[in-house]
Amino acid sequence: MRANCWIGTHDVRVEQVPDPTILNRQDVIVKITSSAICGSDLHLYNGYVPSMESGDILGHEFMGEVVEVAPGVQKLKKGDRVVVPFPIACGRCFACQHGLFSLCENSNPNAGLAEKMWGHAPSGVFGYSHLLGGYAGGQAEYARVPFADVGPIKIPEGLADEQVLFLSDIFPTGYMGAEMCNIQPGDTIAVWGCGPVGQFAIKSAYLLGAERVIGIDRFPERLRLAREKAGAETLNYEEVSVLEALKDMTGGRGPDACIDAVGMEAHTPGLIGAYDKAKQAMRLEMDRPIALREAILACRNGGTVSIIGVYGGLIDKFPIGSLMNRSLTIRTGQCHVQRYLQPLLQRIQNGEIDPAFVITHRLPLEEAPHGYAMFKEKQDNCIKIVLKPH
């Protein structure tokens, strides 16, 4: 089959690779009809995620048709149309039983490696490094999906791929980011990053009852999308001081909750940005926590900082004093997608949201390398790319 493979930093190629086969009793093989490039794939593309290996198939946002079913699978059959959540979860362990699917204790064959890096291991994830299991991803014609009775959700007739594809990651991720804010009536929520996850965080904050949502970015097309489609007020951090503007907009108190939808490759003009970029380039700091620092300083006393942007390792100049002295709460996690699939599918069916609003580009799988380059450079107002493998 054809698959988009990570070869090295800034080098992905669509290659001919073996077709996936059933390896475990609870596997299915999915013929992929739609797959997306995630903002977090850019962290891999830019070489900031450790334990990638040349030849790894990328992609963790995909859906398609079940074409092969292992004997231990009960709920799915050939021909079912499914969206596949990015974390691989067994459904049986302590973490899964508590709804913490991205922390499944039985799905990461490289858990020992991850424990060395992070203390304890998270679940396996499709196409996202060997620390997260070394599973082939979904930017391909086919994918093998383990624990098929636990992860994939069947899609009812009448919904287009583009309406449901983002249930695989970015819609639930944005939603969980908002849910972790414990939004109360009258709340103001600020969202750093108006990429696709930021857009869904804004939308979800409104769905969960926020009064006001403020989106922060520097790309005009993203700010426009946040205003026009997600309904946010916006700040361009290259034009205003975000801390001052947020104080000004909230009577000096600050937003009730702040969502970091940026992660490890944050950008800022000026000295601090150069400092973090230099330290990261020298591998003295693994992640650039610029948005996170600002989100902490901006948050009102006693408020919540919700981190859904991806971080990999260690950061520097973390404002622990602000966090501690002002009774802030930090909540974070890779999205436990499995627990949001059904309720969010329901919201899509109810017409409360059409996730397709973030899509700007549709490309055949063969053009994935061009898509990565375009997405990285934000060329052609690129916000979200959907790949079509067939």
Binding site: I22, R25, S54, G55, C90, C93, F94
Partner: protein
């Protein structure tokens, strides 16, 4: 150097012998430094007029003293270095003995030196013997073995967990690279595993302790001495069973091989950790899930294996 920090051995754990060893270590360094810096003065003190040959011999002895001193003060198990001192003392005594015959020697001073060296030799001997007998914190046998422990919580009862592990033929279903386990009677079993390069490794294992639903201890019979135990205890809060494995490996090649293995301890520790995690996965999900990268030996990219790679791969699967 601070003797308290310089060596774990020198902490008060071992009382008198430790203090004596530290004293001898410092004495060694002091004497060695004197021999190196001022061999002429040392020779005069010992009752021998200086000549070039004696100076260079004394300098060589100086390096020996310093090496022994540093060894004693920095090694956590300095008995060997104390024995080296004893040997050095013998060389010193022999040298002094030969000096009695020298025409230019001051006999009285040489006699005094010989008595002093004999006294130090006695101390070295006492200290070395004490440390060799009981001075090793873990006993001599511990030098040859690598000790590894690992725990997981399994969401099943101790009875169920014990039951699956006690039937050793189950182990090939989840322990990586183990191809088959054959029971020979109730306590003995024959194991076959695939090693790196496709080599098959075989050994017998024997259960040496069996406390139903609580503990199993075993011993492998083969070129690599291994013994281990696994304990099953009820986790608090009704959360299943804490399973704790404890393994000791004594590789062939004795102490040197064990030292090498300790440096590479991560490898068997990783393997044992993975085996226990696999047991948990087998208990909880009925199988051990594999990724595209995990099915073979060594690194494989996260992409489906080719048919020939799949045929060569060994992974425990219920399929």
């Amino acid at each position: 150097m601070d003797t308290e920090q310089g060596s774990t051995f020198l902490k008060p754990r071992n009382g008198g012998a430790c203090k004596l060893a530290a004293g001898l270590g410092w004495f060694s360094i002091g004497l060695g430094a004197a021999e190196l810096i001022a061999p002429d003065r040392v020779a005069q003190l010992a009752g021998l007029p200086v000549n070039n040959k004696r100076e260079s011999i004394l300098r060589a002895y100086g390096w020996r003293e310093i090496a022994a001193g540093i060894g004693i003060l920095t090694e956590s198990r300095p008995a060997g270095w104390l024995w080296a001192r004893v040997a050095g003392d013998a060389v010193d005594l022999a040298s002094l003995g030969s000096c009695f015959a020298a025409k230019d020697a001051n006999r009285a001073k040489v006699t005094a030196s010989t008595l002093a060296v004999a006294g130090v030799t006695a101390l070295d001997l006492i200290c070395a013997r004490q440390l060799s007998r009981n001075g090793h914190p873990n006993g001599i046998a511990a030098r040859r073995t690598v000790h590894i422990t690992h725990s997981v919580i399994v969401d099943h009862s101790p009875e169920e967990s014990y039951g699956v592990w006690r039937d050793v033929t189950n182990l090939s279903k989840f322990v990586r690279h183990v191809e088959s386990v054959q029971a020979i009677g109730d306590r003995r079993s024959h194991w076959k595993a695939r090693g790196p390069g496709g080599r098959t490794i075989e050994w017998d294992s024997e259960v040496v302790e069996d406390q139903p639903n609580r503990r199993i201890a075993w011993r492998a019979l083969g070129s690599i001495e291994r013994s281990g135990s696994i304990e099953f205890s009820r986790a608090i809060g009704g959360r299943g069973t804490v399973v704790r494995i404890d393994m000791q490996i004594a590789p062939p090649g004795g102490r040197l091989a064990a030292e090498a293995l300790k440096r590479l301890r991560a490898i068997p520790a990783q393997y044992i950790g993975d085996a226990l995690r696999a047991f948990k996965a087998y208990m909880e999900t009925g199988e051990v899930v594999q990724s595209d990268a995990s099915i073979g030996f060594g690194m494989h990219p996260g992409r489906p294996p080719a048919p020939e790679e799949l045929a060569a791969a060994h992974y425990a699967s219920a399929i």
